[in-house]
Symmetry: C2
Subunit: 245 residues, 2 copies
C-alpha cells in the first residue's frame, strides 16, 4: 500500500526544483529500471512495483526490502508520469554532474535544446557512439525530467552531463575545438574522422546562439538531397556522429 | 465564431476511422499550414485561425473566404490536438496513396513502426534525402494522425505513402531488392552507395517480422562503439540513409 506522502513525494519529482533540491529522479518500466540497477545500483532510493511486476522480475526480490513498495495498478496510475503506466517506477539518486575534460576525446555540446524527447534520444545516441560527455547550456531541457529519462532508455547512467554558461566555459577554455552542426557549413562527408573536439548542436528552431557560433572553428552540414526544411535535432546528431567517428 | 458541428467534425478527425471515411486530415501551426498551402494548395478544405494568426499571415486573407473561419483563442483550445495550440488549424484532403514503383529508385519500407513521433520524423528524413516512396505495413501508425503530421513538419505532402500487406507485396514483386536495418548485419560503412532498392525499418522493440526479414538480400548494422542497447528507429533511418545515398 502506498501512502499519501509517498504519492506527494513522487509527484513532486516531476518538477525540476524538487529534483534539484532532493537530488533524485524517477524512471519507469522494467527495461530502464533493470538497466539503472545494473549500471548505478547504489543510486536506488525506492522501487514501487505491482505484484505482477515483481513476479516478472524475480531479481527485484533480492533488493533491500526497505527500498521496495508493492502496490496496486491503480496506485501506479496515480503516481506514474506515463500515459500507459508499466508495472514499476523507481526513484534514483541523480548521477554526479560532469567536470568537462577537453583533451583526447569527443564531446557533445547542446545549446538551448528544448524538447525533452530530443534530449533523451541524444543521450542514447551519445551512449551508442561511446561519447561520455554532454555539456548543456543552462536553458537546455533538464536531463532528469521524466520524459527525458524515458527516451534515454537507461543511457542517462552512462553519459555524464553538466549544465553551464556556454560562452563563459568557452572563454575559460580557449583550447576547445568547437565544431558546429549548421545548415550552412561544409558537407559532412568532406570533414574526415575526428578524435577530439566538441560537436555543438543548437536549439530546434533558432540553432546555435551567436556567442557560441562565433567561436566554432568549423561548421558542418548534412547535405540535403530533397526538400525538407530541416532535420530533427536528434536525427542530425546521430547522422553527424556516425560520419565523424 | 465556430459552430458545435464544426467542433465535432474537427475532433472526429483525431480518429483514423473518420480520417479514412472523410479522406481528410488536420495540421496545426502557421509553419506546417504554409508548407501545405504551398505544396498542395488545392487540398485545403478549411482554415480555422485566430484574428492574431490572420494578422501575422496576411497571405491567408487571399484564400477563398468560404474556406476560412476566424475564431477565438478559447475556440482553438477546444478543437486543437496540441498541448499548446498555435493560432491556426487547417483541414486538408489526404494525399493519394502511392502505387509503388521499384525500379531505379530507393524507397523505405516500415514494418510495424508504432510511434507516431517516429513515423513523422521518418517522413521528414525521407523528404530531406529525396526519397519519395514509403511503403508501410498495415499495423504501422497512421501517417495522417495529428501527431504524425506535426512531427513530419509538412513533408507529408512531398512523400508518397501506401499501407499494404508486406509479405503479399514482396511475393508479388520478387524483383524488389530488400535491405534490412538490423542489429546483426554488415557494418553500414562497408555497404557502399545505393541507387535502387528498398530499405526496411522494423518495429521499435520487435524489429522486422520473419516473413519480411527472410526475403531481405542484405542486412546492415550501424556499428556500436558505446553501450546503448539500441538506437531510436528514426535516428537509425537517418544514419542509414546518410551513408547509403
Amino acid at each position: 500500500m502506498i501512502t499519501k506522502s509517498q504519492v506527494k513525494y513522487i509527484q513532486s519529482l516531476g518538477q525540476k526544483k524538487f529534483r534539484d533540491d532532493l537530488g533524485l529522479f524517477v524512471a519507469e518500466g522494467p527495461k530502464i529500471i533493470n538497466e539503472l540497477l545494473e549500471t548505478i545500483p547504489s543510486h536506488l532510493v525506492g522501487l514501487f512495483a505491482t505484484e505482477d511486476g515483481m513476479n516478472n522480475q524475480p531479481q527485484w526480490r533480492k533488493l533491500d526490502g526497505s527500498q521496495v513498495t508493492i502496490f496496486t495498478e491503480s496506485d501506479l496510475e496515480r503516481i506514474s508520469f506515463l500515459p500507459s503506466p508499466n508495472s514499476v517506477l523507481g526513484v534514483f539518486k541523480k548521477t554526479k554532474p560532469l567536470v568537462p575534460v577537453f583533451s583526447r576525446q569527443l564531446a557533445l555540446m547542446l545549446d538551448g535544446l528544448q524538447d525533452p524527447g530530443n534530449l533523451g534520444t541524444i543521450i542514447r545516441i551519445a551512449d551508442w557512439f561511446g561519447i561520455s560527455q554532454l555539456i548543456c547550456s543552462g536553458d537546455t531541457a533538464d536531463a532528469f525530467a521524466p520524459k527525458v529519462i524515458q527516451s534515454s532508455m537507461g543511457s542517462i547512467a552512462r553519459v555524464q552531463l553538466c549544465y553551464t554558461d556556454l560562452p563563459a566555459l568557452i572563454h575559460a577554455h580557449p583550447e576547445i575545438r568547437l565544431i558546429a552542426a549548421s545548415l550552412h557549413g561544409n558537407p559532412l562527408q568532406e570533414t574526415g574522422k575526428l578524435k577530439e573536439g566538441v560537436i555543438v548542436i543548437g536549439n530546434e528552431s533558432k540553432g546555435i546562439r551567436k556567442e557560441v557560433l562565433e567561436h566554432c572553428a568549423q561548421k558542418i552540414t548534412i547535405p540535403r538531397i530533397g526538400k525538407a526544411e530541416s532535420l530533427n535535432a536528434a536525427v542530425a546528431t546521430g547522422i553527424i556522429l556516425s560520419h565523424l567517428l
